[in-house]
């Protein structure tokens, strides 16, 4: 694998990859790894500092902060990956149809994308949550509905660029079925762009999801989620500011890891970027920011 050997030489990229994989595994195996039950309230341990049995101390209800962080990986990180997967799936399917077949289908899909993108993302999410009610499922629905259009557009551009190439034209002219051309000749080359947009939008999505939980619109108490933990910590911000540290740092580590990984992947997929003076800037061309 060319990508892999390129990536292996990028130390920060590898470190990020290891962090990401480790956190995902910890999140999946949360019940085995977490030292305590994240929901067990123990008022005698309120605001306890770090101890041997509670590494990161206890929160305002005496719950184990470390265990809550570990369980929080599920809604904060794993859920974001699912949302990304689904919205990229929809975006890719429509982007491929639009970019490959062009003509009327393309025009229709792109008009719908234009309309979707003409609503600012935050407002759209708030609108959907406002209609459907507060809760994590509705945030997920809102995110999928607002994100797919962006992916569809980027993937369409990428597909179009490749279908203009001679070898695709030749394949079409020689009567190979569309499905076969897409599968064998278009998907592999657009895969690079797909990886880059996927990995570079994870960071901002993690921030947004935790932001909505922080506002109290996402996951509901007593479940652990990083944004939710910060929301709870905010209530005691003036007396116990240290409660903000653990979840905040967890978010920063994960978002930086995903961002570094996105940069490393982009360089690994397109080594020419490595030589140019503006590696940093060019790698941000797909960054989603709403």
């Amino acid at each position: 694998m060319n990508i892999w050997s390129n990536l292996r030489h990028d130390r920060i990229g590898m470190l990020s990859l290891v962090t990401v994989i480790a956190v995902i595994v910890i999140g999946i195996c949360a019940p085995i790894i977490a030292p305590h039950d994240p929901l067990t309230v123990n008022m005698s341990l309120r605001y306890n500092g770090s101890t041997w049995s509670y590494w990161l101390g206890n929160d305002q209800l005496g719950r184990c902060i470390l265990s809550r962080l570990i369980y929080g990986i599920r809604p904060s990180i794993l859920l974001v990956l699912w949302i990304l997967l689904i919205s990229i799936g929809i975006g890719t399917a429509l982007g491929f149809i639009a970019g490959y077949f062009k003509s009327k289908v393309d025009a229709w899909i792109m008009r719908i994308c234009d309309i979707m993108l003409s609503f600012p993302g935050y407002v759209m999410t708030l609108a959907i949550v406002g209609i459907l009610g507060v809760g994590l499922e509705n945030i997920v629905i809102a995110f999928i509905l607002t994100k797919w259009a962006w992916f569809a557009r980027v993937i369409r551009t990428s597909v179009m660029q490749y279908t203009e190439l001679d070898y695709i034209r030749f394949a079409k002219a020689s009567g190979i079925s569309n499905w076969h051309i897409i599968r064998r000749h278009v998907v592999p080359v657009t895969f690079a762009d797909l990886t880059v947009i996927a990995s570079s939008s994870i960071g901002s999505m993690i921030l947004q999801i935790s932001g909505f939980s922080f506002l109290g619109l996402g996951i509901q108490a007593p479940h652990a989620e990083w944004g939710m933990m910060l929301n709870e910590a905010r209530e005691v911000m003036f007396t116990r500011p240290e409660m903000m540290l653990a979840p905040g740092i967890a978010i920063i580590i994960m978002v930086s890891a995903f961002n570094f990984l996105a940069d490393a992947l982009q360089v690994a997929l397109d080594p020419r970027l490595h030589q140019s003076a503006s590696t940093y800037t060019s790698s941000k061309k797909w960054q989603v920011r709403i």
Binding site: I115, S118, V123, L126, G130, G203, L230, I251, N259, T281
Partner: protein, 310 residues
């Protein structure tokens, strides 16, 4: 250019109509009967069939969809967004001032973002690859990975509680602006300064710079030429930033208890006050479309190559 402006305005107008239709339909997509929501919001626990019918008639909810849409659209043009389900006050009487407050915050932040990104972008481009460049980019990388509300909370704790320099919340004097503007600037300038930097860098490699240097122009004169060309990016950043920030101040407003649209919308969502949500979505979507159109036109005016894109 005038053809471009007309085309762009027609497009914006069509988008506005579609947006208003979607916004209106949104409320009707809700699983809850609006009449029931009204009654619940007014604190009437037992909703009988008769009471629901009565409320439906009172709010005109029993008429056909398109009749209601047209009525609603005409009313909205006169800034009449109906009455809040919760307080029974006209929506605009609370939404109008809130919009102005949010807009003030947005405007100040966009100016700050533009200045900071240009200054940092130019410094980094001049020092490319050196220590300053690397440090600034490294710090920007970490700052953009921070949840803005987290940073805001830490800053409130440090500057307002511990040092007691700045107000913790509200919008009383110019000092209330400092922290929110700082946080918004940090979260966006970290992205936009890269645009300025890369624009400077690509301009530095252009032929006109080589020619200028070859014909013996002073380095400061050459730099002025590069700077002038890169300032286009700054203006487009400013135009892009306004609609984006307008729609995303929700979190920051909430942390600082800023009396703007963000705080208002969250309250409306939590109490399911549909007319307020509807008006909020509509107003923000409209300003988004208008500012995007303006920013496209300004960009097209500065860069004629963009005019064919429509």
């Amino acid at each position: 250019m005038s053809i471009y402006i007309v085309k762009r305005m027609v497009l914006a107008f069509l988008l506005l109509i579609i947006i208003s239709l979607i916004t209106f339909a949104f409320i009707n997509l809700s699983p809850l009967n609006p009449a029931v929501v009204v009654l619940q919001a007014q604190g009437i626990p037992d909703t009988t069939e008769e009471l629901i019918r009565q409320t439906e008639q009172q709010f005109g909810l029993d008429r056909p969809f398109f009749v209601r849409y047209l009525d609603w659209g005409m009313a909205c043009l006169q800034l009449d967004f109906g009455h809040s389900y919760v307080t029974n006050q006209p929506v605009w009487s609370t939404l109008g001032p809130a919009f102005v407050n949010t807009f003030k915050l947005t405007l100040v932040s966009s100016i700050a973002i533009m200045i900071v990104s240009v200054v940092l972008g130019v410094i980094c481009a001049l020092q490319v690859g050196k220590k300053v460049d690397k440090t600034v980019r490294g710090i920007a990388f970490i700052l953009t990975a921070m949840p803005s509300y987290w940073l805001a909370a830490l800053m409130i704790w440090y500057f307002s509680v511990k040092l007691d320099w700045l107000p913790t919340s509200g919008m009383d004097s110019y000092r209330s602006y400092i922290l929110p503007v700082l946080i918004i600037t940090i979260s966006y300038a970290g992205i936009y300064f890269r645009n300025v930097r890369s624009s400077m860098l690509s301009n530095m490699n252009k032929d006109y710079v080589l020619y200028g240097r070859a014909s013996g122009l002073k380095e400061s004169v050459v730099m002025m030429h590069i700077l002038r060309n890169s300032l286009q990016v700054a203006i487009s950043i400013f135009c892009m930033a306004i609609p984006i920030i307008l729609g995303s101040t929700v979190v920051i407003e909430n942390v600082f208890a800023w009396p703007g649209l963000g705080s208002l919308s969250i309250r409306a969502i939590l109490s399911r006050d549909f007319p307020v949500i509807q008006a909020y979505v509509l107003i923000l979507a409209i300003s988004f479309v208008i500012f995007n159109a303006i920013s496209d036109m300004i960009n097209a005016a500065m860069n004629p190559r963009l005019r064919n894109g429509l």
